[in-house]
C-alpha cells in the first residue's frame, strides 16, 4: 500500500485552476520526484497535500488515513514533514532553538537529546553554530538547518520543496547526498525540483508536471532517458 496517495487533486487560486486533477503515489521507502517548469504547480501540489492551501476536490490518503480535510498542524503530527520552498527557517531564533521547534510535534521530549546529537553529527556545521541566530547563516547552512529541523520530527514522509534552489553547485551535490542518506535511514522522500538531472538520478520514480497536469511518469532512469524530458528539462 502506498504511504501517500493523491487522487484527482484539484486546486484553485480564485478562478485559476492551478491543479487540474492530478494523481500520484509515494510508496514506503521510495524517493519520488515531481519535476516541472516554473508555474507548473509543483509547490501548489506540495502545499495542498500538507494542508497549507485548500483543496477543491480529490482525495489524499496518508499512512492509511484520509487526510483530505485534515488541518495542516494535525497532518504534521501524523508524520508528514515539509521543508517549504525558500527554506523558511525561523530567522530570529538560534540554530538550537530552530531544531527545538523542529521537534515541536513530538510531545515526549526524552529522545530529544539523541535526535539533536544525530542532527549535529549529520550536519557538523550546525553544531559549530548552534547558538548563532539562524538569519545570519549562509544559504547552504540555512538549507542544512531546514533539513535538520525537519528530521527532528521523525517524519515517515519528508517533503522537500526545491532544496537546491539558490545554492552553489558544490552545495547542491551535498544536499542531494544528504537526501539519499536520509532516505537510506528509512525516511520516504517526496522531492520537488527544477534541477531535473540531479533529482532524477537519485529518484526511484518521478512525475512530470506541466500546467497543472501530470503528463509523464516512470522510474528515475526511464524519465532521464525520455526524449521529452531530455528536451524540456535536461537541456537536450
Amino acid at each position: 500500500m502506498a504511504l501517500l496517495e493523491v487522487k484527482n487533486l484539484e486546486v484553485y487560486y480564485g478562478v485559476i485552476r492551478a491543479l487540474k486533477g492530478i494523481s500520484f503515489e509515494v510508496n514506503e521507502g521510495e524517493i519520488v520526484t515531481l519535476i516541472g517548469a516554473n508555474g507548473a504547480g509543483k509547490t501548489t501540489t506540495m502545499q495542498s497535500v500538507v494542508g497549507l492551501i485548500p483543496k477543491r476536490s480529490g482525495i489524499v490518503t496518508f499512512d492509511g488515513k484520509d487526510i483530505t480535510h485534515t488541518p495542516c498542524h494535525k497532518i504534521v503530527h501524523l508524520g508528514m514533514t515539509q521543508v517549504p520552498e525558500g527554506r523558511r527557517i525561523f530567522q530570529e531564533l538560534t540554530v538550537y532553538e530552530n531544531l527545538l521547534m523542529g521537534a515541536y510535534s513530538i510531545k515526549d521530549s526524552s529522545g530529544f537529546k539523541n535526535d539533536l546529537e544525530a542532527v549535529y553529527t549529520r550536519f557538523p556545521r550546525l553544531a559549530e553554530r548552534k547558538n548563532q541566530i539562524a538569519g545570519t547563516l549562509s544559504g547552504g547552512e540555512q538549507q542544512m538547518l531546514a533539513m535538520g529541523h525537519a528530521i527532528m520530527s521523525h517524519p515517515k514522509l519528508l517533503m522537500l520543496d526545491e532544496p537546491s534552489m539558490g545554492l552553489s553547485p558544490l552545495l547542491v551535490d551535498q544536499v542531494f547526498e544528504i537526501i539519499k542518506d536520509i532516505n537510506k535511514d528509512g525516511t520516504t522522500i517526496l522531492l520537488v525540483e527544477q534541477n531535473a538531472g540531479k533529482s532524477l538520478a537519485i529518484s526511484d520514480r518521478a512525475y512530470v508536471l506541466e500546467n497543472g497536469n501530470i503528463v509523464l511518469s516512470g522510474t528515475g532512469a526511464e524519465l532521464s532517458a525520455s526524449e521529452m524530458v531530455r528536451e524540456a528539462y535536461l537541456g537536450g
Binding site: 517549504p84 523558511r88 530567522q91 531564533l93
Partner: protein, 290 residues
C-alpha cells in the same frame, strides 16, 4: 533625592501599567497580525467586573474573577468577531475591531449607566521610605507590573507554547508545518493580553476609584503609542515603550510650565520616533516574502 525616588516609583508604576496594556497590543499584532483596537476597552470591562464582583466582599476573589471574565471575553471576541475574518483584508479587520470597541463601551453604558461608579478595592494607605511619602498602591502596581513582565518574558523564551508564539509571529505557514496549531496560539495570545488588560483595570481603580465606560479609551491609545514606540510586534519593545511613556508622563506632569501639554508631548515623541525609526526602537524591518 525625594524627587528622584518618587519620580522613579511613579514612572515605573504608570509605565508598568502602560507596558502591560501595550503587551496585549503588541502580542496580538505580532501573532494574529491585526490591531485590536478594542483592547483598551477590556481595561474598562475589567474595572466594571471588579465593581460587580466586589459585591462578594472579597477583593482578591473580585480581582481573580475579573481577570477570568476578561480572559474569557477576549477569547470570545477573537472567536466571534476576528476569526471569521482571518484572511480578509486588514481594513475589514481594523473596522471590526473599532466596532467591537464601540460595542463594549455602549454595552457598559446600557448596563451601568453613563455616570461613573465608585469602586474602592482596597485602602492601602501610604508609607515613608527614606523620608519620602509613597502610596503603597503605587508600589504594589510597580511590583506586580515588574513580576508580570519578567514572567511573560520567561514564558515566551522557555516554554513550548511561548516558542510556538514566536514561531507563529515570524512565519505562520512555517509554524503550521512544524505542527503548531495557529488558532490555538492566537486564542492563548488573546487570553494573555486580555488578562493583562484586566489587571491594568485594577491598577486604574487603585489610582482613582471610579469607573466609566470610557475608562479604557485614553490608556488604550497611550499604550498603543507605547507599543509603536517600542516597535510593534516586539515584546521587550512594548515594555520599553511603556516604561518610557510612563517616565515622560510623570516628569511632564511634575513641571508646572508643561504639565497641561503632557499628552501632546507624549504623542509628539511618537511622531519624532516614527520619523527617525519607522519600526520603533526594537521593531524589526519586515522582509517582504516573494
Amino acid at each position: 533625592m525625594e524627587l528622584v525616588l518618587s519620580t522613579l516609583v511613579n514612572s515605573l508604576s504608570l509605565g508598568g501599567i502602560y507596558a502591560m496594556i501595550a503587551l496585549g497590543y503588541t502580542m496580538v499584532y505580532g501573532i494574529a497580525k491585526m490591531l485590536n483596537f478594542a483592547h483598551g476597552d477590556i481595561i474598562m470591562v475589567g474595572a466594571y467586573a471588579i465593581y460587580v464582583f466586589m459585591a462578594l466582599n472579597n477583593p482578591i476573589l473580585a480581582i481573580l474573577l475579573s481577570v477570568l471574565f476578561c480572559l474569557l471575553l477576549g477569547i470570545t471576541i477573537e472567536r466571534v468577531a476576528y476569526r471569521p475574518l482571518r484572511g480578509a483584508s486588514p481594513l475589514a479587520v481594523l473596522i471590526t475591531a473599532i466596532g467591537v470597541s464601540y460595542l463594549l463601551q455602549s454595552l457598559a453604558q446600557i448596563v451601568f449607566g453613563s455616570a461613573s461608579k465608585m469602586v474602592t478595592v482596597y485602602e492601602f494607605g501610604a508609607i515613608k521610605i527614606f523620608g519620602v511619602t509613597l502610596q503603597v498602591s503605587t508600589l504594589v502596581t510597580m511590583a506586580v507590573a515588574i513580576v508580570v513582565m519578567i514572567a511573560l518574558t520567561l514564558f515566551v523564551k522557555l516554554t513550548r507554547t511561548g516558542r510556538a508564539m514566536i514561531a507563529v509571529s515570524e512565519d505562520r505557514g512555517a509554524a503550521q508545518l512544524m505542527g503548531i496549531n495557529v488558532n490555538r496560539i492566537i486564542t492563548i495570545t488573546f487570553a494573555i493580553g486580555s488578562s493583562l488588560a484586566a489587571l491594568a483595570g485594577l491598577f486604574y481603580l487603585l489610582k482613582a476609584p471610579s469607573v466609566s465606560s470610557t475608562l479604557g479609551a485614553m490608556p488604550g491609545i497611550k499604550a498603543f503609542t507605547a507599543a509603536v514606540i517600542g516597535g510593534i510586534g516586539s515584546i521587550p519593545g512594548a515594555m520599553l515603550g511603556g516604561l518610557l511613556l510612563g517616565f515622560v508622563e510623570c516628569v511632564a506632569t511634575k513641571i508646572t510650565a508643561i504639565a497641561p501639554y503632557t499628552d501632546a508631548i507624549e504623542f509628539s515623541i511618537l511622531i519624532i520616533i516614527l520619523l527617525v525609526r519607522p519600526t520603533g526602537f526594537l521593531g524589526k524591518k519586515r522582509r517582504e516574502k516573494v
